[in-house]
């Protein structure tokens, strides 16, 4: 069992905003090499030990409270001393221009199992005798480190050796995994209202409605609320509640066998799609 200090090749907050992905693709398009961020102890660094399970929540909370700049300022000019009880350093992040480390980082932030491709890992052993200066590189292939896990109490983190053919197990269905990936990359898109209107029509058809709803566009939620608040209260009260998006869920036949995975999925999904966005935008414009 190893006690590991984890360092990231990019700030967690930037990854959440999709900036890292954007920067990587920009550099790739311009024929540039990998992202020029320092690698190793001087990279963006988030010490997750010993409170790993809280780190994900903390990041999400920080983001919700607008503390994103605080993390960004944590870029290290000088390497900080590693925790004295750590005996290895684990760098996570790809050196390829098509880097995409958001997924392993995000999973790691939530605690539990984190699947990282061997090429994304760089593991260094610490020499307890001379502290930080004694870090020495270890050949990645000799470690075959594929899985990093942390227990619920936040420690310890173990790196497990795996055979070359082993596929990292996922607690979720591949379709769910693909939706999580799509949600992570949906932040940089533009809205095509014509496309959306056709999607609404498809959904209406799937719901068995005779015709799609007449759509009225507003630029922001505050304008929509202002428009509705000008209506007479009695008229509003007669409108009832939302029905369009309601899809009745089939009654579960079996109890949930992996509640941890379900809860983790919900936390990840809500963090990715930013469920507070609508409320925030409504309040910001008022």
């Amino acid at each position: 069992m190893w006690k590991i200090c984890i360092s990231f090749s990019a700030p967690v907050n930037n990854l959440e905003k999709g900036e890292y992905r954007h920067e990587a693709s920009e550099r790739s398009a311009r024929g540039l090499g990998p992202i020029g961020r320092p690698w190793g102890p001087q990279c963006w660094r988030q010490e997750l030990l010993p409170a790993l399970p809280d780190a994900g929540k903390q990041t999400l909370r920080q983001r919700r409270m607008g503390w994103s700049s605080k993390l960004v300022q944590q870029r290290l000019r000088e390497p900080r001393p590693f925790p004295s009880d750590a005996n290895a350093l684990l760098n996570i992040g790809r050196r390829s221009p098509r880097a995409d480390v958001a997924k392993p980082l995000r999973h790691l932030g939530q605690g539990g199992l984190c699947h990282v491709h061997p090429h994304d890992l760089s593991l260094q052993a610490a020499s307890p005798a001379d502290g930080r200066t004694g870090w020495k590189s270890i050949d990645e292939s000799s470690w075959q480190a594929r899985r990093v896990s942390a227990d619920r109490a936040g420690h310890p983190i173990g790196v497990f050796e795996a055979g070359p053919d082993e596929v990292p197990p996922s607690p979720w269905h591949p379709l769910t995994e693909s939706l999580v990936d799509r949600a992570a990359s949906a932040a940089t898109r533009r809205t095509d209202t014509a496309d959306l209107q056709s999607k609404l029509a498809n959904f209406a058809q799937a719901q068995g409605l005779v015709r799609p709803p007449a759509v009225k566009w507003f630029a922001n939620p505050a304008d929509a609320v202002a428009h509705l608040s000008r209506m007479d209260l009695d008229v509003l009260l007669a409108m009832g509640v939302t029905r369009f998006w309601r899809v009745d869920e089939p009654c579960p036949r079996h109890p949930d066998r992996d509640i941890d995975a379900t809860c983790r999925l919900r936390t990840i999904a809500e963090g990715l799609v930013d469920v507070t966005e609508l409320i925030r935008l409504t309040c910001n414009r008022n």
């Binding site: 949600a183 809205t191 209202t193 959306l196 939302t242 609508l278 409320i279």
Partner: protein, 95 residues
């Protein structure tokens, strides 16, 4: 709840009478019942699909299909909707 509280505090700031204040609160509460956050629906869709698939549903199952369409509406840039009998008010995530 937050837009409702904000409307209430604005009304108090403008010196509305108790009756007017009640009307503002009731109006915004009712608007809340018409509102759907597509982000919340998308998150729910991911979890709902996972649950359905774990239960043995296939990728072409009706429930999965509808939830996928909901997710895709958010993914395509729909932020929120308000349903009225005559129209659906939509707000995009990006300009």
């Amino acid at each position: 709840m937050q837009p409702k509280l904000m409307a209430k505090s604005q009304a108090i700031g403008r010196g509305y009478s108790p009756t007017e204040l009640f009307r503002v609160r009731a109006t915004h509460a009712q608007i809340g019942w018409l509102e759907t956050s597509l982000a919340a629906e998308a998150a729910q869709a991911i979890c709902g699909i996972e649950r359905a698939l774990r239960e043995g549903a296939g990728g072409t199952d009706v429930f999965v299909h509808r939830k996928l369409l909901t997710f895709e509406a958010w993914e395509a840039g729909l932020l929120g909707t308000w349903e009225t009998p005559s129209e659906m008010i939509c707000v995009p995530r990006f300009a």
